[in-house]
Symmetry: C2
Subunit: 210 residues, 2 copies
């Protein structure tokens, strides 16, 4: 359940050869730090220590490479959040998501959300397959918040999920566009208040499953 099989699309990469792995790693760094459209495939190849030909032999196109990059990042973040929740059973899961985000930001650079950035960088090509990956990431986050809220006993879990997602996304954005460094901490505190409010006013529904 943690690693749900994603439908195989045109850009899907079955198994990664060493060259493909190196290219995808380099793409992960460069696309995130400098932006997708600003980084040439040539640069990715150079940083990976392979030739441009190899990149195109492993990935059909730059679009496919971009999708692989975002898809892998998506998987990583999902795994990160899910294992954080599992490893911190004493923390209310809804809040643990924010702790996971905080730790993720600390571990890697606080440069903002790769998916939000990708969306902006690919604004001119709405048909770009990466948009499906981007939407999928946000949808997963929303559904996760909704399920966790529901399990916590919140009746209007769907509404709360949207509010929590606001906080999550907003905290990421603030890390990239403001000097505020404790945005995630603030978002977590706000989430705590919203959760308490939802439990107090909306009332508890069923006891949390499992």
């Amino acid at each position: 359940m943690a690693t749900k099989e994603r439908e195989s699309s045109s850009w899907e990469v079955p198994r990664l050869t060493p060259g493909a792995r190196a290219a995808l790693d380099a793409a992960g760094r460069l696309f995130y730090e400098r932006g997708i459209t600003a980084v040439a495939v040539e640069s990715v190849a150079e940083a990976a220590g392979v030739t441009k030909k190899t990149v195109y032999d492993r990935f059909k196109s730059k679009s496919a490479l971009v999708c692989a990059y975002l898809s892998e990042r998506d998987s990583r973040y999902r795994g990160w959040v899910e294992s954080w929740i599992a490893e911190h059973p004493e923390t209310p899961p809804v809040l643990a998501v924010f702790d996971a985000l905080d730790a993720w930001m600390t571990a890697r650079g606080p440069k903002g959300c790769a998916f939000v950035h990708a969306h902006a960088q690919l604004l001119d090509t709405p048909e770009h397959p990466a948009h499906r990956v981007i939407n999928g990431q946000k949808q997963w986050l929303h559904d996760t918040f909704r399920d966790l809220a529901h399990d916590a006993g919140v009746r209007s879990a769907d509404a709360l999920a949207a509010e929590l997602l606001c906080l999550h996304e907003g905290a990421c954005v603030m890390h990239s566009t403001t000097d505020i460094t404790d945005a995630v901490t603030r978002a977590r505190r706000a989430a705590h208040v919203l959760l308490q409010d939802a439990l107090a006013t909306g009332g508890r529904s069923a006891p949390g499953r499992k």
Copy 2:
């Protein structure tokens, strides 16, 4: 106070000639809809009904045009929010900001925040002067929230401001990356809860200034 004089920078445009006005209008549409890096100066000129030469005669460079675009949008949004607050004295100002955002989104297309998008699109050039405009816009929003919260009697106005900014930014992001259409409404409700909580637990400080 509504239209505070901004310091004149290298990209500042004193008075706009008809050609410059047309170019800036076209840039405003195209940069926002398709993205800054994806739109050529040539395209802006064509859409404006002027020649590329005219654009470069009025604006030193594409960077200057981008700054003028963002700066003008910044001014417009500030004015929009400030007059919305003034025209709705019955609404708590902190919440009126979200109403203003909602109305702004409804009036124009809900395509997300131009500044967040610009930041992502200009990731590779940290020295780009537009980053100052972007940071300025977010700083203004934060300071506005802080002042309004303080006026409402919130003691920890600075902390609340960061949380409200999270909600504001998050709601914008959700409009561009998810199918959730009532993000601003949800953010407003969350802001209401946070405000009540801040007033109840943090306690009121001084009575709101005039």
